[in-house]
Amino acid sequence: MDYLAILQILDSTIRLATPLLLACLAGLYSERAGIFDIGLEGKMLAAAFFSAAVAYTSGNAWVGMMAGIGASLVLSAVHGIASITFRGNQLISGVAINFLAAGLTVVVSQSWFAQGGRTPQLSGDGRFNPIVWPGAVERTRDIMQADPGQQLYSELISGHTSLVYIALLIVPLTWWVLFRTRFGLRLRAVGENPAAVDTAGVSVVGLRFAAVAIAGVLCGIAGAYLATALQAGFTKDMTAGRGYIALAALIFAKWRPWYALGATMLFGFLQAVALRPDMIEGTLGWDVQIQLLDALPYILTVIILAGFVGKAIPPRAGGEPYVKER
């Protein structure tokens, strides 16, 4: 396997890891505040559909993304009302949201576009297009002839959509918010010991709703990325379990932002490799089952969860509704 091929794999790693990263960070905010969120998948899916639909009708990918974020926020609100206001079971609420999105996206897209549960193909400004950095070459032939440094720059660093760079910037931002601001401290505290936060006179309900809303925004961006950047339009069930992989990555990352970047890049890499079976065979000399690569993120997460390789300890108050004592 040559240098350029490795670069190509890493390039598609970044592209495939971006939605995982955004969803993983969404889960991170929510779960750090003590709200389990297995509805990441559903929120992403809803956002993917509405962003593609609105991007198609408006011809503007950014407007589409706003619609996607809106749709995701509506589902976040449902999750918040169910699990914070009415103190329902957060896991069941998440399951319901996933099905709600899976069903509604197809029903609505069939009604709007009548194309068997997909949106029309997006083109031009309806999609997020790659940003070519100054000095980078674009044509395949030019890249082939360039020197290694230029190849790295043109293939791997330049040429992603703006959402990829935004997602990467959200990682340090999340770290800063969680560990360097008052809001972050309170957010983490509310996931560990909500009673203490309440005693300090800070609203547990308010903080948790804020966390769930941030998760909604991030899932919205992730969904918009899937439908309007990675692919050109919405297709039925296009999230294909990415919400659950993000959840796995979150556990893998032990609920920390920088680790989340590492975990999602690893899982993105597995997805990228699974797309190129010829390369695996060429490198390792034997045939690796694609299904094994598909299952690997889940198997790794189970091993991590089992505590054989470092212990993953979730926020202490996670999943429990807060009841003010009277």
């Binding site: 449902v78 169910a82 699990s83 009415f86 329902g88 957060q90 069941i92 029903v107 094994l292």
Partner: protein, 376 residues
């Protein structure tokens, strides 16, 4: 606050949740430009208007009874088994191995063998998450989700590789031998000229499902084990103090749960497809969650809820056939049922409790004393 009477808890809360779900579904149907009343009539006609409709409704219901019982049993120990999908898929593998590699002389013996194969395979798939929950404290919801995906990848591998007959392009096992074919309702209930349930997949497994309901009821409410499971579910510290071992309860409950989910395979794999195909479970494992919530984790409630969902499934297929409403509307209804009966339970319960609390309070002599009464 006064508690609600039992009938309100068992009947009224699920009923109101169902009505809310139906209302929102009706709004969705209106929003996509169809008439909800016509849609409902189509569904009732298509699913319940003929023995043909019933044949499909009961076939789907049989699947949902098993996956619903699986979720319900685990729920009694406050374990949320979301892995019914994977366990049912593995159950399919168990059934396929039993039917393909053992020469059965008669379907009745094959049914017993397949039941054992399905239950063992399903239970085995639930055993690892159960063990990890009991011994390592890994959250069972997350591990069972992961195991759904691992099961899907595993079956995908088997069906495009080792289990596929040579020369076949289909990702499926070979067809089962004729001696393992289960009698369908058409075989059982047609007399002479009158053919009932013509061509429908409902089969003898329905009675296995009913038997499973009775068995689960007996185990949960009439045995020492069932008592221990429920005690563990109500309060883990109290159960531990009473000498009930958490590891044992988690393991045995999840094994039962996984086994029940696996049993679904005798209906869809052995009874209907008569071979193991890719993605044979088709989401029935997840519908089990809605069924168990709707049925209040009681076997009789699960049976009723399963028939309701069987009706929705068959009715939804009819809708998709006759109107422009896609089948996925059923997924929306399913989601709403899970939302209202599961997550938003308190939204329905709190006002009801307030109403019943007011009704059952003795009449007050005058206004002033009523006001000074503590409100809680």
């Amino acid at each position: 606050m006064q508690k609600m009477p039992a009938w309100a808890e068992v009947v009224l809360v699920p009923l109101i949740s169902l009505i809310l779900a139906a209302l929102i579904s009706a709004i969705v149907i209106l929003a996509i430009g169809e008439n909800p009343w016509t849609a409902l009539k189509l569904m009732v006609d298509g699913a319940l208007g003929s023995t043909y409709g019933w044949g499909y409704t009961l076939y789907y219901a049989t699947n949902f009874v098993f996956t619903g019982l699986a979720v319900a049993v685990a729920y009694h120990a406050r374990l949320f088994n979301i892995g019914g999908e994977g366990q049912a898929a593995l159950g399919g593998l168990g059934v396929a191995l039993v039917c393909l590699y053992i020469p059965w002389p008669h379907w009745s013996l094959a049914l017993i063998g397949a039941t054992a194969g399905a239950a063992i395979a399903g239970a085995a798939w639930a055993a690892i998450p159960a063990f990890l929950q009991a011994k390592r404290g890994s959250h069972i919801v997350i591990t069972t989700i992961m195991f759904n995906f691992i099961a899907a990848a595993f079956l995908n591998y088997l069906l495009v590789g080792p289990l596929k007959p040579t020369g076949s392009m289909d990702p499926a096992t070979a067809g089962f031998p004729q001696t393992t074919f289960l009698p369908t309702f058409q075989d059982m209930f047609s007399f002479g000229e009158t053919v009932l349930f013509r061509g429908t997949p409902a089969n003898v497994t329905f009675f296995v499902a009913v038997a499973a309901c009775v068995l689960v009821w007996l185990i949960i409410w009439r045995t020492r084990l069932g008592y221990e499971i429920r005690a563990f579910g109500h309060s883990q510290p109290a159960a531990r103090y009473a000498g009930i071992g958490p590891t044992w309860i988690i393991m045995i409950t999840m094994l039962m749960s996984g086994g029940l989910a696996g049993l679904m395979a005798i209906n869809n794999v052995m009874g209907e497809a008569e071979r193991l195909i890719l993605n044979s479970v088709e989401g029935a494992g997840f519908i089990g969650i809605a069924v168990a919530l709707m049925g209040r984790s009681h076997p009789f409630g699960v049976l009723l809820a399963a028939i309701l969902f069987g009706f929705l499934y068959q009715g939804g297929a009819e809708l998709a056939f006759w109107t422009t409403i896609p089948r996925e509307l059923i997924v929306v209804i399913q989601a709403l049922v899970i939302l209202f009966t599961g997550a938003l339970d308190n939204m329905v319960r709190m006002p009801l409790e307030a109403i019943f609390g007011r009704l059952s309070r003795p009449p007050k002599p005058d206004r002033r004393s009523a006001q000074s009464e503590p409100s809680a």
